[in-house]
Amino acid sequence: MGDLSRPATESVERSLDSTLDSVDQAEDLAVGVARRAGFDEEDLMKIGLAVRESMVNAVVHGNRYNTNKKVRFSASMSGSRFTVRVADEGEGFDHAHLPDPLTPENLLRTSGRGIFLIRSFMDDFQARHLDPAGTEVTLVKFAVSK
């Protein structure tokens, strides 16, 4: 859990290339903000993985590694709320109707667990289509006072 005895307000924002290096970069940036805000190692692991999965979705499935397309990334801590936003320029997909990776027929699928892990590890997850193209996901985790 985060430590509210260390109130923090910090924000970072980047426009990133559609590469796997950007995935690492975004994860490092987000975990850095969360660490300085006082989240513990367990939460940092969850935040890092959730950001990684979001970035992979944006780079691989959204922008499809297109060098002409960018991923807008931001991570911020305000009060007890840690927020990450990842926006791609892809065609988008329906986050609300993804197959459940826990059902017996899907258990041995080799993909389709990313959004599930994000939802499992963060307190809130929202996705919206952008105009004219793209998807923005918002991940939230709350620090809890000790």
């Binding site: 796997l20 990684r52 990776p101 826990l102 258990l107 699928r109 080799t110 667990r113 892990l117």
Partner: protein, 114 residues
């Protein structure tokens, strides 16, 4: 650091010591290729030692599942050894922990192959 694979033979069991990160890209593709290569060489008793895996993402989990399916479909067995807390937690969350035969002792794991 990406993934490093050390491959050794213990009797008729192939032990793969996996170290580093199993994530989308080099890490997951290296593991996939190694497992397919083993099956191609008729090495069908495979024990993945994940004790030094520092990080795994959904792509890495997918590669474990893919490896399990590839080996099983070829009539072999793929088992896991020395899961870190991080990997164990992810396999439990995704309900895959009970799919794999997981061991904590190598000698015991080697003997469990039939």
């Amino acid at each position: 650091m990406s993934v490093n694979l050390g491959i050794r033979q213990v009797g008729d069991v192939t032990v793969v010591d996996v170290a580093g990160r199993i994530t989308l890209g080099e890490g997951s593709s290296a593991l996939r290729e190694a497992l397919r290569d083993m099956v191609g060489k008729n090495q069908k008793k495979i024990l993945l030692n994940l004790g030094d895996v520092s990080y795994i993402d959904s792509s890495g989990i997918g590669e474990l599942v893919s490896g399990f399916t590839t080996v099983t479909n070829a009539g072999g067995q793929l088992k896991l050894l020395n899961l870190t807390k991080r990997v164990k937690d992810l396999l439990q969350i995704t309900k895959l922990y009970t799919v794999f035969d997981v061991h904590e002792d190598e000698a015991h794991a080697v003997r469990s192959f039939t």
